[in-house]
Structure formats: C-alpha cells, structure tokens
C-alpha cells in the first residue's frame, strides 16, 4: 500500500538529502555562522576575550521584579561592568579608518594585488605557451618551475629575505663583481618594499598558474590549431583571438586562486620584513592578527577582518551575478 502512495516531496531521494545534511550544516554553521559572529562582535569593545553584546533580559525585554533582583535570585553570568561597555557601535570602524597603519595596509594590498594579478597571468601564460611547444624534457622544466610552489610562504619569505639582503644577497654579489655603486635593497627602502615582497610572491606562485594554464592549453582541440594553420593565421593571433577566449573557465579558476591568495597575504610579509621598514609593508591580514592576539583587542581585529570580508564580497558578488545569474537568463 505504501508503495502505491505518492512519495512525499520532502522524502524523495531521502538518502541523498541525509547525506547532504552535514555539508549544509557545515556551510551554514561553520562558514556563514563564523563570519556572522565575527561581524557581530566587531561592534563590541572586546579586548582579550569576546564580550557578550546583550544581557539575556535585555534581549527578551522581560521586566525583572525588583524583589527578585534584590534577592539575588536572578544571577547574571557576566558582571554588569563588562556588559555596559561591550557595545560600542561603529567605534572600532572609526578607529580603524583613522589609523595610519590600516590605510598603509590597504594601499599595499592594492599595489600587491594589482601587480600580482597581472604579472601572474602574463608570466604564467607565457611560460605555459612556451612549454606547450612540444619541447624535449618538458616534464623536467615543468617540475623546476613548479618546485617553488612546494615551499611554504614562510620559507619563501626567508629565502628572499636573504637574497634581497644588501649585505649578503644580490647587491653584495654585484658589488663584488666590481660595480661598487650598485644598489638593490628593496626590503630596506620604504618606497619600494612592497615590490620586494611581490618578487617573492611571484616566484612562489607562478609555477602553479603555469600548470593551470598548461592544462587549459592541452584542453584545446588539436584540430583548431590545424585549422588555424590551414587558414594561415599567425601563431600569436591564434593564441590571442582563439585559444585565450576558449580558455575562459581556466582563467576564472586561476583568477579565484590568485585573488584569494592576494587578500590573505601574511606569511610572506612576516618572514621578509615583519611589516618594516617602519610600517611601510604592513598588510590587512597582519593588522588583524596583531590586533587580535598581540595587542589583545579582539574588537579592532574583528572590525578589520570584517572590512576584508566586505572587500572580497564587493569583488565576488557582482562577478558571481554576471557569471552565474546571466547564464540562467540566457
């Protein structure tokens, strides 16, 4: 009898739905919930420990009869002093945007991000195109170029700290060859220090971009190349007008990988300069870490990380809308 009844919509594919529950819970609780928690607490004056935003009785607006409160029967789990100073409105954000260090961090991220994005794409694609010419020892070259990616950012940063150190690195080697006036000390010059970090970032990350591009190039049908050759189209034109437009999905994947790497750049800076000289190579992620942990000011750290989240959202949401929303309509 049960077999004849129409299955309830909610129970259709029950197994699949049950299997999806952990994923949905993870997405909602861990990812969305964690982000929301951070945003909410960025409006508090939390210092070393998070401070509750509201007392329960404020939240539900239950009037407490005076004789109960007097009796001490109603126990609050937090001292009143902490509650009264916990909500600070937009104070954390005002302080954040008035802080020189945060402004410099944002500028550095903008420079690093723009250069890193463009150069990763260009260098990665050119290397991939060169490797795609059916050369000998392709595997060897690919391994060599990909190798830096196997190193952590901390190790990369330390290696480049020594390479760029004026006393031990490139500058001293070139000076040793007789060019006494040669100066190359990006990590010790406030104006160009972010480019010193950029060099290390590119060295580490380009190999992966190259591999992604190479995979994309290999996905292009051999017949397209043959057709282009029959039509007498020069190779560079084939790349520019045929191959690259066909590699759109690969480019989007690459873009997401590079962009997420840019926003959270932290370890490279810590290993290479610790934000110096002065505060000229500070980045937002380092601001968040330093305020949350070293300066024991969670509220300020949360405000900064909320701004980072907002920056990512500003980029991602219009893009996702165009990418996915547009396709549905079309």
């Amino acid at each position: 009898m049960a077999a004849n009844a129409r299955p309830i919509r909610l129970l259709r594919n029950l197994n699949a739905k049950i299997a999806a529950v952990p994923m949905i819970l993870t997405a909602l609780v861990v990812f969305v919930g964690g982000s929301m928690w951070t945003v909410i607490y960025s409006f508090t004056g939390s210092k070393l420990l998070p401070k509750k935003l509201l007392k329960w009785d404020e939240l539900f607006a239950i009037p407490v009869p005076e004789w109960i409160a007097k009796d001490g029967a109603l126990n609050f789990d937090i001292p009143v002093g902490i509650v009264s100073r916990s909500f600070v409105g937009l104070d954390q954000y005002e302080r954040l945007w008035a802080s020189n260090r945060w402004i410099i961090s944002i500028e550095n991220l903008a420079i690093y991000g723009a250069c890193s994005l463009v150069l990763s794409f260009v260098i990665g694609f050119v290397l991939a195109a060169l490797l795609d010419q059916k050369i000998r020892f392709e595997n060897t070259f690919r391994t060599i170029i990909l190798y830096p990616f196997a190193l952590s950012f901390i190790v990369t940063g330390l290696v480049w700290q020594w390479i760029l150190n004026p006393e031990f690195g490139i500058q001293s080697i070139v000076r040793g060859m007789g060019f006494v006036g040669f100066t190359f000390d990006p990590l010790y010059n406030q104006d160009i220090v972010i480019y010193g970090i950029l060099i290390a970032g590119l060295w580490q990350g380009t190999g992966l971009i190259m591999c992604l591009m190479l995979a994309g190039l290999r996905g292009i049908d051999e017949d397209i190349w043959k057709a282009a050759r029959v039509d007498g189209i020069p190779m560079w034109k084939t790349y520019l007008f045929i191959v690259i437009p066909m590699m759109r999905p690969v480019f989007i994947t690459t873009l997401v990988i590079i962009a997420s790497g840019i926003v959270r750049v932290y370890d490279l800076v810590v290993a290479q300069t610790s934000g110096g000289p002065g505060i000229s190579s500070e980045v937002p992620a380092k601001y968040v870490y330093d305020y949350m942990f070293q300066n024991q000011n969670l509220g300020q750290g949360f405000a900064a990380s909320t701004m980072m989240l907002l920056a990512v959202a500003v980029v991602i949401i219009p893009w996702a809308y165009l990418e996915f929303g547009g396709r549905k309509r079309g």
Binding site: S99, N100, Q296
Partner: protein, 409 residues
C-alpha cells in the same frame, strides 16, 4: 660553599614538600642561551622537591608565545604555570576566573614584606587577591656604548646622552653608525620611553603613562623628548638590522657607537666575552637621570582540576621566591632579583649599578604595568613609523602620541 648552600636548600625543600609528586607543565618564551640556562635553575630546584618540571618553551619571543598561552588557557587546556610580563597582559584572564588565587600562599610566606619594589606585587594583585609570582626585574633605561668604536673615532667615551649626540658626527666620519636600532616596533617605542624618563624625569613619565594625561603628552617637555628622538632617528638612519640582538652585535663589533636597550642586552656582551668597563660601557638612565623601570617576568598559575597538581603549583610558586633560587636564576638571566635582602656579590659591574639604583628606590613602573597592550601596540606602531620615516615631523608625531595617550586605557 655555594653548592652546599644550594644542596641544603634543596634538601630542606624536599623535607618540606608533601609526599605527593606531580608533573607540571610550565610555559615560557625563554629560548636564547642565557635564558634557557636561567630557566633550568627553576627546573632543577623544582625537580629537587620530588615533583617534575615539564618544560614548555615556546620559541619566537613573547609576541608569538602569549597568543599560544592565552588560547590554551581560554580553550580549556591550561598548562600548570605560565610566564607573562609584569603588568596587565593576563588581566582579563584573571578577571574571567581562569587564574589561581595565590593569596593564601602569599600571606603565609609574607610576600608583601619580601618583594621589593612593592609595585611588582601590586601588578599581581586584583581586588586584594594575589594571582602571580614576580620572579625578576628587567629595566629598559640603559645606553650601551662600544669603547672600540669611540677609540676608532678618536673621541672619549660619552658619559651622557648629550655627549653621545655631540660625538655622532665624529663616528659617522669613520663610517660608524652612531646609534644601532633594530626594526621591531617595540624597540622604537622602548627607546623613546627611555629618552622620556631620562631626559624629562620620572614625574613626567608617570603623568603620561600612569595618568594618561593628553595635555602633558602634548606639552613642551614632551616636545623636548621628541626633539631628542628626532636626533636619535638621524643617528640610527643607517642601522638596517631587524632584531635587537643584531643591533647589539653592531655595538659589540664596534660597527655602531651605542644602543638604547634593556639590561637583557648584557647577556649578549657576556656571551661575546666582553668585559664591562674595558670593552663596553653602560649608562643607566642615559647618564642623565639614574632611574630604572621595573618590568620583568611573573608566573601565573591557571586553575587546575587535579588536586595533586594544584598542590604542586603552590610549591612551585613559593619556591620561585626562595633566596637561593632567586640568586641562581637572576645571575644566569642577567636580571635583578625581586627581593632586596639577598646577596648578589657575583654580579658584574653593570648589574651592580642597577642594584644600587634599585636599592636607592629610583624606580618607575614599566609601561606594561600602566597601559593596556592595545594602547601600547598603538604607541609601538607610531614610533616604528616615526623612526623609519624621516618625513614625519616631531610635531606631527607628538600630536598623534597625545591622541593615543588621551584615549588610552
């Protein structure tokens, strides 16, 4: 004789301790050679009581170690004892009830009478209860000078800050960096605070850091300190090292004339085999105002469920203040003991100068005891920027400094 004393002390402790033995994990950030040797003295004395010291050293300095310690304590996996600096770093942990109240032990052993200066015990006290054991005193107000650098430059070793500034051109003419300074932010603000105490006096320092008086911070006397900091900035312009001990090394090798750094720098001179007076000179209070601050380290004991461990915590706490432990520990550490009634005749010349100043009572609290880590972090950011960016004028920096001081908590 000293060994016999130590043995006797250890035996006495053994006899005094209960039969129960426990393993206690102690976390700290003392990892350099001299520091590790010093902490081994604690471990040795504690193991002699029949308990077991499990060393939990965290490399990378206080800035790295403190977040790890705090997250373990707040995350429900507390160690048995942990280092913090004198001051307010653990304040909220104490307020949240995560630290053990040591008042009983303190009263039984009369800590209030033996800890000198008493401000150290005040820093451990919240609402009349004592939550930590101060173990040593480190002071910031020292100028370390390389005798070799000044001999090379053909000028006499300065005896005060003004003489040092005047000697700077002669040093520079010989290619010597007048003032060595690392890039870490706490070094810049530390040097500024030393200039303030030494050039403008303890009262002004207490008004700014103790009372958070923004008007004083914006006033003429602090302006004079900023002018001196501007001098220091010019003298340190070519010092491109990162860590404080690299900067000290410039002084040891005679590549730099001097360095403003706390008395922990002394360990570096000792390791390099240098002798105070002949190879290097130390000027407490920059040779102007002989005042030292009483920063340093204290041990906190998180609340534990295990009774045996709790008992052992008490033993460790009282042991850290025992005279012989204080002597052995502080001689290795190069710091001053927290009790004035013990004999430190083995100390070197610079340490003895420090002991004299301490005995005379010319002490001020450390900024860590007066301001929250948040406010001090902002001050660090300001000064590392000021010392590295010549385009910020002293007046601009002072205006920002006064604002931070006014908002400080």
């Amino acid at each position: 004789m000293k060994h016999i004393g130590t043995l006797l002390g250890a035996t006495a402790l053994c006899a005094a301790s209960s039969l129960s033995a426990a393993e206690l994990e102690v976390t700290h950030w003392w990892t350099s050679g001299g520091e590790a040797a010093a902490v081994a003295e604690f471990a040795k004395a504690f193991n002699a009581t029949g308990n077991k010291w499990v060393d939990g050293a965290i490399a990378g300095g206080g800035g790295t170690a403190r977040p790890i310690m705090i997250s373990r304590i707040t995350g429900g996996d507390p160690m048995a004892a942990t280092q913090f600096n004198h001051g307010r770093q653990a304040e909220e942990l104490v307020e949240a009830g995560l630290m053990r109240d040591l008042t009983d032990i303190a009263n039984a052993e009369g800590w209030a009478d033996i800890v000198h200066p008493s401000s150290l015990l005040d820093s451990c006290t919240l609402d009349g209860h004592i939550y930590c054991v101060p173990v040593n005193i480190h002071s910031w107000q020292w100028l370390w000078l390389s005798n070799k650098a000044f001999a090379d430059a053909g000028v006499a070793v300065p005896t005060s800050w003004d003489e040092f500034v005047a000697a700077a051109p002669a040093l520079e003419a010989k290619g010597i960096i007048p003032l060595a300074m690392g890039q870490q932010s706490w070094q810049s603000s530390g040097a500024f605070n030393v200039l303030m105490v030494s050039l403008a006096g303890a009262d002004l320092f207490l008004k700014v850091y103790g009372d958070h008086d923004a008007d004083v911070a914006a006033g003429a006397e602090v302006a004079r300190v900023f002018a001196a900091a501007d001098d220091a900035r010019k003298m340190a312009a070519n010092s491109s090292v990162q860590d404080w001990n690299q900067a000290t090394n410039l002084v040891i090798t005679g590549k730099a004339g001097g360095q403003i750094m706390g008395d922990w720098a002394q360990g570096e001179f000792q390791v390099a085999g240098q002798v105070a007076g002949t190879d290097y000179t130390c000027l407490p209070g920059l040779g102007v105002n002989e005042i030292i601050s009483t920063g340093g380290d204290a041990f906190y004991f998180p609340v534990l469920a295990d009774e045996e461990q709790t008992a052992a915590q008490g033993e460790l706490a009282s042991l850290m203040l025992k005279p012989e432990v204080q002597v052995n520990f502080n001689l290795k550490k190069g710091s001053l003991p927290v009790r004035g009634d013990i004999d430190l005749s083995a100390a070197n010349d610079c340490m003895k100068k420090g002991l004299e100043i301490l005995a005379a009572g010319n002490v001020i609290p450390d900024p860590n005891q007066l301001m929250s880590p948040d406010s001090l972090g902002q001050i660090n950011d300001l000064f590392v920027e000021f010392f590295n960016d010549a385009s910020i004028t002293a007046a601009d920096a002072q205006a920002r400094f006064a604002e931070i001081v006014g908002n400080a908590d």
